[in-house]
Amino acid sequence: MTVLFGQLFTGISIGAVLLLIALGLALTFGQMNVINMAHGEFIMAGAYTTYVLQQSITGAGLSLVVALPVAFVVAGTMGVLLEVLLIRRLYARPLDTLLVTWGVSLILQQLARDIFGSPNVQTRAPELLTGNVALPGGLTIANNRLFILALALAAVAALTLALRLTPLGRRIRAVVQNRDLAAVSGIATSRVDRTTFFLGSGLAGLAGVALTLLGPIGPTMGTNLIIDAFLVVVVGGIGQLKGSVIVAFALGVLQATGEYLTTLSVAKVIVFVAIVAFLQWRPQGLFTLRTRSLA
């Protein structure tokens, strides 16, 4: 029982990290159909932002609190720059966007290497987040994992509320559902695109801050994470958030269970096979927006 619960929580915390990364993608890929391979480097930017802030703010807790909004803005700004300079020219060519943003991610990685050096750097975690919570039954849960779970859920909640309730969210949803009709109704669709991109990239920055709690920061930290996150959005179905949320946790638990029963490497293969099998059943993902188009 303890083992089962322990594995479940491991899975959920893997899922929380995935979710935090995938959430930004759910906006840029899911809502705008832009495959941004540089998303991983926005994560890296968020992580390095935390590192830089810790150089001047000595309190680990305070620096973390400051880093969250700053990283959001830094990564978001990078996202807007990318959108304005490159991606908006490529909206009709999603596959080419993938390659172009891969090129951007290479450049950003090398930039990070030149600025911060190739070796990984470490940040200090706040004392509050280094311990464990002991649960009855001899179970312990790491505080930083709990914090990331809370951050992911808060981000989902905030994003959902923003999309549902604010005028901006209404505009974003309108553009997603029917771009032409939205444009005819007086919505500046290109400005909405830019804002969506800012939000999506900013969420990558938040994910970067969270990842500093789990491990070292390096120039290629984003590359390894980004594919799993893309898979989450693909399997979750594009156009809304709930699919990504469910799938992130499902994949996390599947990964943890597979790892427990076999090994880490076999678990990755199991997850991949499961995804291909799932797409046989639901090729458009878990939830889809109904459209009348053929594709």
Binding site: L98, G103, D180, I227, T263, L264, I275
Partner: protein
């Protein structure tokens, strides 16, 4: 397909193949030109290069030509078929590992075990799945058939369910990630991160001997020319035209009564077979196969050469792949950081601003209408609403 020549409406779904004779030119001359081109290429690869280049440079060229073989396959799948496959490293690796396993077993002699297995220490006897590779009659066909089988399995599953565009690209990339993690994880039987290294013999010939290295180069060059000939036949056949049609308007092809899934599957499987062959020949040329050569990053690097050269042309992928690989060696020897910037810029500039690659410059200069220009519209995309928006009426 910007209509330069006044063409009958049917060209909207059936564009002329890139290398085909423009209207009004006799087909015989085009064939002659192709033959002349092949003769020129053969002369260059078989006569000029071995004479001009040192042994070291020739070995490098052999390596580049292997990459070019993968590029030819990507040209078919991506340039002609619109399937951006970011996991060709998997097939390259399957071919390479199949070959390397055989060569390792041959090096070890009958009943022997590859050196690394004793090194990592847990194994007393050869794992079951290694055993068939002791026979060249199994291992050699496997270098091509194994990748093709994997591509067939994945392709028939995803294409039939109409998983395409970016979805397919991401899945193919995830396959590469999974494969690498698996290889590293099973260190005891796969050599882990190091891969299979230190391969000494190639069917009885000592690979350290420069003469034999030269032979390997000739085999590789010949194979590449054969693959190019095969590809030319393929893209000029009825099937080749159907493939381009599927790329440019999958739904229309479906409505015409064809099955786009099968059309795409053939292209994907052929591309996988070429990558497997390339991997198999890479092993004797370089003497190593490892996860670092087949993972996500190398897989996507295969694509950039194709994009630079011209994804939908016959020769573009080959020239692009060789040029990029050569530039990489030349620059990263001296300025490693600079090369990464340059590579990133290549992706950005070529794909964003010159989607037809350098070959399209040539075509532009000759003012020819080319099917080789990849479609500029988002019809293949998963972009439902965007695709609708940009749907261009068949004018």
């Amino acid at each position: 397909m910007t209509a330069v020549t006044p063409a009958p409406p049917s060209t909207a779904v059936r564009p002329a193949p890139a290398g085909a004779a423009p209207p009004g030119r006799p087909a015989g001359r085009s064939r002659l030109r192709t033959l002349a081109g092949f003769a020129f290429g053969a002369a260059l690869l078989f006569a000029v290069a071995p004479l001009v280049l040192s042994d070291f440079r020739l070995a490098l060229l052999a390596k580049y030509l292997c990459v070019a073989m993968v590029a030819v396959g990507i040209g078919i799948a991506w340039g002609r078929g619109g399937m951006l496959t970011l996991g060709q490293g998997v097939f390259f690796g399957l071919g390479g590992y199949a070959m390397a396993m055989h060569l390792k077993l041959a090096d070890a002699g009958p009943g022997g075990m590859p050196d690394f297995m004793q090194l990592y220490g847990q194994l007393d006897e050869l794992p079951l799945w290694w055993r068939p590779f002791a026979s060249p009659w199994f291992a050699l066909p496997a270098t091509v058939l194994l990748p093709m089988a994997v591509a067939f399995g994945l392709g028939s599953l995803v294409f039939r369910r109409r998983v395409r565009g970016a979805y397919f690209a991401i899945l193919s990339q995830a396959l590469a990630a999974a494969m690498v993690i698996l290889l590293i994880g099973q260190q005891g039987t796969t050599g882990g991160t190091n891969g299979l290294t230190d391969i000494k013999g190639f069917f009885g010939y000592d690979l350290d001997d420069p003469v034999n290295q030269r032979m390997v180069y000739f085999i590789i060059a010949g194979t590449l020319l054969a693959l190019l000939a095969l590809t030319r036949q393929l893209i000029h056949s009825r099937y080749g035209e159907l493939l381009v049609a599927v790329r440019d308007g999958e739904e229309r092809v479906r409505f015409l009564g064809y099955d786009p899934a099968s059309v795409k599957l053939v292209a994907y499987v052929v591309a996988a077979g070429m990558a497997g062959l390339a991997g198999a020949l890479f092993v004797p040329a370089v003497g190593i196969i490892s996860p670092a050569l087949i993972g996500i990053v190398p897989s996507i690097e295969f694509v950039i050469g194709v994009a630079v050269g011209g994804r939908a042309t016959l020769l573009g992928p080959v020239l692009g792949a060789v040029a990029v690989a050569w530039a990489r060696t030349a620059l990263s020897e001296r300025f490693p950081g600079t090369w990464t910037y340059l590579q990133g810029l290549l992706f950005v500039v070529v794909v964003a601003f010159l989607p037809g690659g350098l070959a399209s410059l040539w075509a532009l200069a000759r003012r020819r209408d080319v099917a080789a220009q990849p479609l500029r519209r988002g019809r293949l995309s998963l972009g439902r609403r965007r695709a609708e928006r940009t749907e261009v009426p068949a004018a």
